[in-house]
Amino acid sequence: MNGDVACAEGAISAGCRFFAGYPITPATEVAERMAERLPEVSGIYIQMEDELASMNAILGASWGGVKAMTATSGPGFSLMMENLGLGVMLETPCVLTNIQRAGPSTGIPTLAGQGDMMQARWGSHGCYGIIALSPSSPQEIYHLTIKAFNLSEKYRIPVLIMADEIVGHMSEKVVIPPPEEIVLFPRRKPNVMPEEYLPFVPDADLVPPMANAGEGYRFHVTGLTHDERGYPVMNAEAQDKLIRRLVQKIETNREDIIEIEEDGVDGADVVVCSYGISARVSEFAVERARQEGIKVGMLKLITVWPFPEETIRKIAQRVKAFIVPEINYGQIALEVERCAGVAADTVLVPHMGGGVHHPESIMDAIRKAVR
């Protein structure tokens, strides 16, 4: 199956029973698969009037106690930014898949890009923490979709799956494990009486338990800056307390959230750091460079946000340079550069979109870096 279909199947395996979406190349197949599959498992598929509505509908569904997701690509992702912010502010578990295409604007709808990586981090206005995962194959998008639902419930946050057109449209074998092998994280429920329930009193890990609508808690939540009761409070102190927690609930749990794959990093002179489809091309280039006798490591980012800062800092002490191939003019490379500092060089290998790197361009960068 292709990556879009695998994403939908991952969602079904994760217990997702609500999908709201709007057709957009190259993410439409996620919606099509969900429209076919959800009725079979008593779920709801609804095609909304636009991506603003889609994002809101999944937030509403999540507060109804049902796991919910949407899928889109660049132009729709831009529209979803408004209510991604609402999801962050209301601490609403849900999953948003972006099958990235080349942008800006309408760009090249049918061909790949990785230009939305910084938008994933900062796209909604204001300051907040976020989680984004990047798959590089249909099998991986299946697993990461389940992981995304688990992280979204665990940390009460919208989780982004930042795939790309090639991963979305490539067909490969996908193994779907039996349900008993799939570990799901259940929603944190309040353990106090309804009259004592305050919607935003966090547990020790800074994440508050969540009552669903219609369970008798009679809570109020708002996109305005609010206190632990969920009531609006318009002052700098309340803003400070809330925003620090929204950022810190991700920051202090980095170790639990971050997943990366290292290959041959120990003893390497240079390390290629990449993600998504670019990581697969990079792996090929690394293999070839090793055949030329170059000591080169591979660092594949599966979690892109929060960014694995510590890992980069540590590796930077031991290598000459990081090579960062990505299908944009330098986004994640900026993060690598920030963490590597002066300890190691950061070499961006950009591709403007509409295809993938030629492995030779990555090998060239590796050769130059070790010279």
Binding site: S42, G60, K189, N191, A213, G223
Partner: protein, 299 residues
């Protein structure tokens, strides 16, 4: 009011968040009496209050969600309806009420409004129409009458306004009514009826905004605006919605305009599912609740 009667409280106190009072609404605003009509209409409906959810957008009316002692969501500007759509479809046992203003529902949220009506999503929308954007200081809105003055139409509005009941009816709403905030008894009865109506119901409430819209259009007090409603409202049940336009300081046709039956989104989906899968397949109205554990989940 004497000190003693203040201490006794108000019979609506149990349904309001007392710890949020005083509210933000201006003297002469219609929202207080509209909220009272909503709550008394809701109590008379017999619906379980644990299953009634209020969803609001942004603006003065959007603050209703924060004052009612129900599950309530104060969402983003214009997006109350799609949020409510997701909530209702995910948990069909809920009665979902969208309470918002004309700018929120008909301008920035206009697309969602017509599509929810077209789909006949089972929800009640209460649209409080004060002919302008009150919270931001009185700007031109989608319902501002022609020639009316606002801060962004200082020489008079040159845009044709929406006729909200006509828009709702044309989009497929199964219940459409309009009152002003002066018609408290009729509004209360209409709200009960709308809440019990299956499908997309719309109640438009014309409401004063004396400090901005009123002041700029020669009705500077709440009393002036109430007097205008009393002298110019015409009750005409069953009126054709296309004939209920409101001109500046002109007649206001009020009453119940539309009350028809049409299958909801969920009705049609259930019918299609039964046709496809046979009767043994669970209906779309019963999505399984995910497994939950008592207490906070372990790290």
């Amino acid at each position: 009011m004497s000190q003693a009667s203040l201490e006794q409280g108000h019979y609506m106190d149990a349904y309001l968040r007392q710890d949020r009072m005083p509210h933000i609404w201006c003297p002469g605003c219609g929202l207080g009496s509209i909220l009272h009509c909503f709550l008394s209409g809701l109590l008379k409906s017999g619906l379980s209050l644990d299953k009634v959810v209020v969803v609001s957008g942004i603006g003065c009316t959007g603050r209703v969600a924060g004052y009612v002692k129900l599950d309530s969501f104060h969402t983003t500007h214009g997006r109350a309806i799609p949020f409510a759509t997701g909530l209702k479809l995910a948990k069909p046992e809920l009665k979902v009420v969208v309470f918002s203003g004309d700018g929120d529902l008909i301008a920035i949220g206009g697309n969602h409004f017509i599509h929810a009506a077209r789909r006949n999503i089972d929800m009640t929308v209460i649209c409080v129409n004060n002919f302008n954007y009150g919270m931001t200081g009185g700007q031109l809105g989608p319902t501002t009458p022609l020639t009316a003055r606002t801060t962004t139409s200082p020489y008079g509005n040159t845009e044709q306004p929406f006729n909200v009941p006509y828009l709702a009816a044309a989009s497929g709403a199964v219940y459409v009514a309009r009152w002003t905030s002066m018609h408290v008894r009729r509004l209360e009865r209409t709200i009960t009826e709308a809440l019990l109506k299956r499908g997309f119901s719309l109640v438009e409430v014309i409401s004063p905004c004396p400090p901005v819209y009123g002041r700029m259009n020669r009705q500077p007090t709440g009393l002036d605006q109430m007097r205008y409603y009393r002298e110019n409202s015409i009750i005409r049940h069953g009126a054709d919605p296309k004939d209920v336009d409101i001109d500046l300081n002109g007649k206001i046709i009020v009453g119940k305009f539309i009350d028809v039956e049409r299958p909801t989104f969920s009705d049609l989906q259930e019918e299609m599912l039964q046709k496809t899968f046979g009767p043994e397949i669970p209906t779309s109205d019963t999505p399984p609740q995910e497994a939950t554990v008592a207490g906070a989940a372990p790290k």
